[in-house]
């Protein structure tokens, strides 16, 4: 079953003459284990696509289904609950709540969902340990490096039973090594059975995905075929 399905999703901002079509007629489906990259230049509507996919914004028309639940007609509270239980977000630069330690940041979505603080922290500690951050659990966001912050954000986005990871330029402000580390983690999460959508303008980041879709002016225009295995690449090469 697809974790996320979007059918003919269109989003229009503004009215009348100042109307802007942010995304139009988007069809998209993400299954468990999928890492999908949405690639496009800035202003192409890729961030809007992501906020609609995560129920933060309502589409003007079209349908979004997360975990088999149709979003349209859902109350704000129900959407919030869906986000708590199914969707994890990773943003470009601001991900962690100041004033909470790495551990508390990760345990927050669980607590918001009613898990007792102690229990939530055990789970959060486990998630952080898995990402090699067990020594940074008690640090506040401003004591962590940019790469560490993004890793904590990924831990938070995947903690508990969440299984749809939505990332908006997750390594945008990082150097290429840290960016690669972040994408490795996203990929590892997908290998464990999560579904992920990463929107980016960066081809190197996008190339970590199993499938790359290209977005231009709010439309999905193209996508890559399932790539051949790396071995074939090595065999084909000769002296350039």
């Amino acid at each position: 079953m697809a974790l996320l399905e979007m059918h003919r999703v269109t989003k229009v901002y503004g009215e009348g003459a100042s109307q802007v079509l942010a995304v139009r007629d988007i069809d998209l489906s993400v299954a468990a284990g999928d890492l999908l990259a949405v690639m496009g230049p800035s202003g192409s509507g890729k961030s809007t696509l992501l906020t609609i996919a995560g129920s933060l914004e309502d589409p003007t028309s079209g349908e979004v289904v997360i975990d088999g639940q149709l979003l349209s007609g859902m109350s704000r509270n129900d959407k919030a609950r869906l986000r708590r239980r199914s969707v994890g977000y990773v943003f470009q630069d601001f991900n962690l709540l100041p004033g909470l330690t790495a551990l508390e940041n990760v345990s927050l979505p669980l607590e918001l969902d009613g898990v007792r603080a102690r229990r939530a922290r055990e789970l959060a500690a486990a998630a952080l340990e898995e990402l090699g951050l067990d020594e940074r659990v008690a640090h506040f966001p401003d004591e962590l490096s940019g790469g560490e912050r993004q890793r904590v954000a990924i831990a938070r986005a995947t903690v508990g039973e969440r299984h749809l990871l939505l990332a908006d330029e997750p390594s945008g402000a990082l150097d290429s090594a840290s960016g690669e580390a972040v994408m490795r983690m996203v990929l590892a999460a997908c290998r464990r059975g999560l579904g992920a959508v990463v929107v980016t303008h960066n081809a190197q980041l996008a190339s970590w995905a199993d499938r790359v879709v290209f977005i231009r002016d709010g439309r999905l225009v193209d996508q890559t075929a399932i790539p051949p295995s790396p071995e074939s690449l090595l065999q084909q090469g000769s002296e350039p």
């Binding site: 906020t51 708590r84 239980r85 943003f91 709540l97 004033g99 918001l112 009613g114 898990v115």
Partner: protein, 832 residues
Amino acid sequence: MTLALERVAPVHRSDTGGAPARRAIVRWTWRLFKREWPQQLLVLCLVTVAVAATIVGAAVATNTPLPANEGFGTAQDIATFSLPSRSFPSELATLRHRFGRAEVIEQAPLVLPGSVQTFQLRAESPHGTFSQPLLSLLSGAYPRRQDEVAVTAGVASAFRLRIGDRWRVGGQTRRVVGTVANPENLLDEFALVLPGAIAEPTHATVLFDAPRVSAASIGPTVRSVTHQAPPNVVNPESISLAGVTLGMLLIALVAVGGFAVLAQRRLRSIGMLESLGATDRHLRLTLRANGVIVGVAGAVLGVLSGFAAWSAYRPSLEQSSHHVIGELQLPVAVVVVSMGLAVLTTFLASGHPARQMTRRSVVAALSGRPAPPPRVHRTVVPGVVLLVGAFLLLTVSGGMIGGGMPELVLGLAALIAAMILLGPFFLSGVAELGRRAPVAVRLALRDLDRYRARSGPALAAVALGVLIAVVICVAASARYGNVLDYTGPNLASDQMIVYASSHASGAVMVKRGGPEQRGNSAKTAKAPPLAVVRKSVLGIAAALGTRDVVELLQVPVTLQRAAPGRNFTGPLYVATPSLLRAFGIKASQFSPSADILSMRPGLAGISGMHLLPSGPGPLHGPGPGGLAHPVIETVSALPSGTSAPNTVITEHAVHELQLSPTVSGWLVQAPATLSASQVASARQAAAALGLSIETKDDAPSGGQVISYATLFGIALALAVLAMTVGLLRSETAGDLRTLAATGAGSRTRRALTATTAGALALLGALLGTIGGYAGAVAWFSASTLNGGVSALANVPLRSLLFILVAMPLFAAAVGWLVAGRQPPVIAHQPME
């Protein structure tokens, strides 16, 4: 991870996250408060100061007057007897029979030879059930034998006594064993002996409890403690509470802006929370919890600092109010209510920003993009409706005999609400006006308009402070400007009037009386011959170090105005040559035909005045012994006190009306301000002769009231500005950075801040003044009793100038000075 997945079984989870979610949100809010409390320092300080001031104010106000049961100890009733009396033993026996326990305190005067000062020799049990609170031991011991005596500090110094001395008192030599005091009245000076140790007591006080029996039915000289202080709505507690409520209203206005800025600062965090699945209720909780945290912190800090201030001030209050005040003798109700109000205020103030916050799009919040400033209160209608309503209510209230308190309060509330609603429109007006100003001014004014959500409450708060000041100033100048019903301090602080009859001064006497005077007044004292009294008064004056005594004569006539409204009040003494001489007035200074001389400015210009014979009978205009349209002349050299001879009848008029003056009292002019102990001993001396005295009471002068009110209003407005201008400017810190990048230097920064502060101050002053005058016009126009609108002719010009010109200039100047240095908040705006 997989393991974790299995362990989070969706069992006990509610749709909204339940208590764990709320706890998590509150924990986050608390963390942020701990980290960023300086950002909320202003609101925190305001709440703290308000609570502390309320506690100290209420404690001082409730503890300053003598306690209602002063002199009663723990008894409910007191009976006084003159001794020796043959009926006393039987009456005492009756009391004991009817009411059980009755404790007797016997007293005799104790005269210091060569001094007018009198003291009491008192026989009282230090361990009596009722009388115990009337005694405290300062050093040594209580007398245990007939020949032992304890004295108060005053007696000890007057008689040069020390513990261990032998002292002949009450017809017997006694040994001084201790120093004592009456905690309920530190001015009470006496020598204490064992009950029954006074050979010839002159009177006795009996303390007893007569529950559910009216004092009068027991006997003519019996008083009950409950009859001392009739329950009154206007008591120190209620005044303090009204003050703190008003203060909290102002704080709420400031806090709304503060919390809105806070919400703005936390915008991205809020967006982040929402993306994590926090419900709207959770999001609002972040700000609401913050409100409560600030309120609780402010309340606790306020109570602590209030208590500290009270502890520090208590000893000097005991000194000045002459009775012992317990450390914990705080008005608990006021403390509790003001704490509650503090929390309620900040909680309610966080409500509006909290609701605003959840209306914002989460995408905009996440990007940290401030939402376009919301256009608040687009319609003038509610404000105008409220203004009209306020006008009507105030008119109705003014027209009522006795004021119409509910209408007055409702009217003022409506007026304030109207100003809060109308304030923003002034802001857009001023932005229009500033369109052609230099860039910094234009930018500052436009920001005031754009960020109305913040500047609106600030403006309303400034205006409210000014409104209060203006209303007080206008009302005070109207009231104090009333030359007929003359108001002000009764006497100068170095003046004292000794009245021939103890009834003449009425309440003044009873208010300040100690227990022994009550005993005296209970006696039906026969007036001693005038010559004797005159000599005694000279003696009292001599004790104060002066021979400057003016005899005050009165004639049975009153000054009346035959028109509705307030009428002439105050004494009308005869302008005897000695009185005129005492104030340096020569006969040449007024015409020989003048009937009345007065220092009250404007009294001479009042028409329809009559001199009417006083005494029983209807007042139907001038009859025999009366005089229509007396000639009134203004003589400014007369004293201004309301009890002093500020208005006098000339001997010419006295002759014409064929009146015979009687001596009513003596005005004593002391060389310096009278001290409390001088007043107390003069009072005791006067009381011993069946006389009473009056000295300066606490009533402020009109000028004082106006100055205080003006200062209060300006201080309040400036405080609000100090708090809000910072908030407003930090809101637009981004603009400032851009400005700095385009080469604007500290001058621009200074001009921005100065304009913001000055414009807000000026607008607030204008709005408050207009509102205050509108309210006053409405009230006075309907109140003929208070002289109608014409009563407002006396404009407190100086105060208005201060408020409308000096205050905005000052605000702008401070803004200019303070904004010179680049504030760190602009240098690196906190993002995470």
